[in-house]
Symmetry: C2
Subunit: 473 residues, 2 copies
């Protein structure tokens, strides 16, 4: 099979073919479901991740943490989700296996169960001898003293304080506390700060807090204010402690938080699980795999719905740029139009040449057409596999076919996929080059995908020829 595909991480618009497969029709049909299964979910998650990444663009870089493992479609679904969330622009995953296999940073916090495990300070057994606070006191002693300073009645939950001390004893330089087990502001935040101040004395800098319920906008503001107040009161550099927010976050919530927090984010990182790996807005991507040509003849599927009609013929796809690097329109042309072999150079030139006028037609609306003089033309489909037709004797059927040769179709990979990190960088770059009005959440400008005159004519002829005209009388 000969296979062309869009580069992984590229931005693709509706009607542009993502994969083009050429070969014997039976073989092409056999791989239909496999290809769709692999492409649909991966593209959905990468797109979803990229949209969420767009939603947090601001002055300050925001860390996006993927927490989807427990809500994905089984372990394998979760692995794909982690990989493609990263590709779409997320920074890390809580899926340890995915982190190791794909070289993605691993991040997470302790569980609520860890906090509820403890109920009293007496349960603390392990004391980390390396953590030496002021006057040689240990972490527990100092944390309890700080808690008294911060919260005279010592009303913050004692089990929670115990859990934080235990956690900080074990991971003194990775102290990120989940503070909503009992009450975020009246317990978790105070307990966190008690331990954080004690850690700071021992020259271990705390990381921050994670909010996992309640009004994230309000709570993040209150936390930030508290950090600033404590910084002044105790002369510690705690203004910029990390605030991680999680709890059913989706794209809308990111945008609404962005508006609430006005100029700058008070949150430093978002942990997103459910709504990243099972995209709420559109739980499934509807890519399809259709026959567009056979034996050199273009074919079409019309169906009862215009959106389900296919664009016929073996097509190539190009992106036309203006102003040097601004994608303006994608153009689909029949393969023979775009053939760039030396002998057809002249023909190819006439159709697809930068700095020349190229007429682009709307796929279905005859009134819409535009002349574009692109600065640059970029092919979107890259050859990834060659058909490797070999003449090979079939030993099993030797007697029968002794004098015959059998063609063996075993494709050969001709494209070296970049690393996941490179694909991620490519994806983020491609998203960035898009004009912002295409990326607006509400009522975005539709990016145009057009077809060539010849493709339009082929399509018209096929519709004319293949569809019955009904007589109504």
């Amino acid at each position: 099979l000969k296979v062309y595909a869009i580069r992984e991480g590229d931005v693709v618009f509706s009607r542009v073919p993502m994969i083009r497969v050429e070969g014997p029709v039976a073989m092409c049909q056999l791989i239909e479901t496999t290809l769709l299964n692999c492409v649909n979910f991966a593209s959905l998650i990468a797109t979803n991740a990229a949209r969420m990444r767009e939603a947090v663009i601001g002055k300050k870089p925001i860390q996006m943490l993927e927490f989807g493992l427990r809500r994905a479609q089984g372990p394998d679904g979760a692995m794909s989700a982690s990989q493609y969330a990263y590709l779409g622009g997320f920074d890390s995953t809580s899926n340890v296996l995915a982190g190791i296999n794909y070289d993605i940073a691993i991040s997470g916090t302790h569980a609520h169960s860890f906090v509820t495990t403890f109920s009293s300070l007496d349960q603390l057994q392990f004391v980390n001898p390396k953590i030496q606070c002021k006057d040689g006191k240990d972490l527990k002693t100092r944390a309890v003293e700080y808690r008294k300073l911060l919260n005279e009645e010592e009303s913050s939950n004692e089990g929670e304080l115990t859990a934080f001390i235990a956690y900080a004893n074990a991971f003194p330089t990775h102290f990120l506390a989940l503070i909503d087990t009992y009450n975020t502001l009246d317990s978790g935040l105070i307990n966190f700060m008690s331990v954080a101040l004690a850690l700071h004395e021992a020259k271990c800098e705390p990381i921050g807090v994670r909010l996992d319920s309640g009004d994230l906008s309000y709570l993040s503001q209150k936390c930030r204010e508290y950090f600033r107040r404590v910084s002044q009161q105790f002369q510690v550099p705690f203004e910029n402690l990390t605030i991680v927010a999680s709890n059913d976050i989706n794209e809308e919530i990111l945008y609404s938080l962005n508006v609430c927090l006005l100029i700058d984010w008070l949150v430093d990182a978002f942990g997103i699980g459910t709504n990243l790996v099972t995209c709420q807005k559109q739980p499934a991507l509807g890519c399809v795999y259709k026959l567009v040509a056979i034996d050199g003849l273009a074919r079409i599927k019309i169906s009862e719905e215009i959106g389900k009609m296919t664009l016929p013929g073996t097509k190539s796809a190009y992106r036309l740029y203006i102003h040097n690097n601004e994608p303006l329109i994608d153009l689909l042309v029949l393969d023979d139009e775009a053939n760039e072999s030396p002998t057809e150079k002249k023909k190819s030139r006439s159709l697809l040449e930068a700095k020349q006028v190229i007429r682009c037609y709307h796929p279905s609306n005859d009134l819409k057409r535009v002349d574009v003089v692109p600065d640059r033309i970029e092919p979107l489909l890259i050859k990834v596999q060659n058909d490797n037709m070999q003449k090979k004797k079939n030993s099993l059927r030797k007697e029968k076919l002794e004098k015959e040769d059998e063609r063996v179709w075993d494709g050969k990979l001709v494209y070296k996929s970049p690393s996941l990190k490179e694909r991620r960088a490519f994806c983020m770059e491609r998203v960035k080059t898009l004009r912002s009005d295409y990326k607006r959440v509400v009522n975005p400008t539709p990016y145009k995908v057009s077809i060539s005159k010849k493709l339009k004519d082929v399509m018209k002829d096929l519709i004319e020829k293949e569809t019955p005209v009904r007589t109504i009388q």
Copy 2:
């Protein structure tokens, strides 16, 4: 680890524990994400399937076909989806591997690409010699003759007719045609019928048609009318040919079709993919895994949201039946209340005995409580794994621990899972026993889940003890 679980296929309501794990806290925490990953998606799909099955209940049994492979989260997600859609009440899958592995009936139709492969009757090469139509004519000849009879202008698509003949030649007794490639009523239906009539002459009975686009309600009526008309005209038993409908079907569409078609369904089967395996209404199920007790002490997680608060303590769950077999209410009790060991028989009797008054409390609303005299009480959590504490010498650390024994926790499965078919039957039975107002789609009666007095008291005490009371001044 000791593990209790709801039987697979049972109906579970919010707040009833689905799995209860007992063991060393570190081990219990390690399996958190794995358990959630396995339970969440499987339960979601089974529930979704069962709801769709409910939506087509009527006079006629409707076949429900799962077509989700291409939209699932990778191959593994698709395998789970096929298995749990079947468990929830679907009849077959288009996923061949799942069909083989789980012994589920496999069903599907040919692809649109198969139809578009053909453009002219001249392309037909294979003639099945076993198909002998009237006067010894072959299938192609007779199909073309019938088409002329049915459609004088022969305006139905020729390639499509060719494809149907080719398909029927290959599978004469499994002729189910996808008829929307060009135009359902003006081409596909006529071509199907031409081949169907020819097949009938050769004593091969056609199966029917599949609609995959357009207004399924209108088209299914038109198809059924056509079947009836042709049956009369040609004296063939075609009134009840199968109509399969697919195309982005979800629960709402099933209900709306049910209303449109009034008394009886004109459709015999639904093929559902996308919206079955990626549940639109709720793309992810939010089961969580929380610590409820440690060292015999009940624990609670309160959080900022009442819905995220856990019910403390090691609990058992019971279903209380009235009128013999009508589930009325589920009751959660602390394990020591329900302990049914012989020595505690008397105590157990006093709390959970059929024909006796049992007081049930609402988990959070103190005003709501009810006395139930159940006909029957059924435990919901079944022991599936025993902790198998063995005393075993650790050979690797022999020198160090020569005189010590190490406890090895290797659980032992004590529950034999029924076959998938049995679990499916169990699931459908359990759904059936529920009163219909619980299953109503719009504004259903909430099924009640209650707790015992003792559990309520433990909960109150814990909230009192663990949450700080804030002073506002």
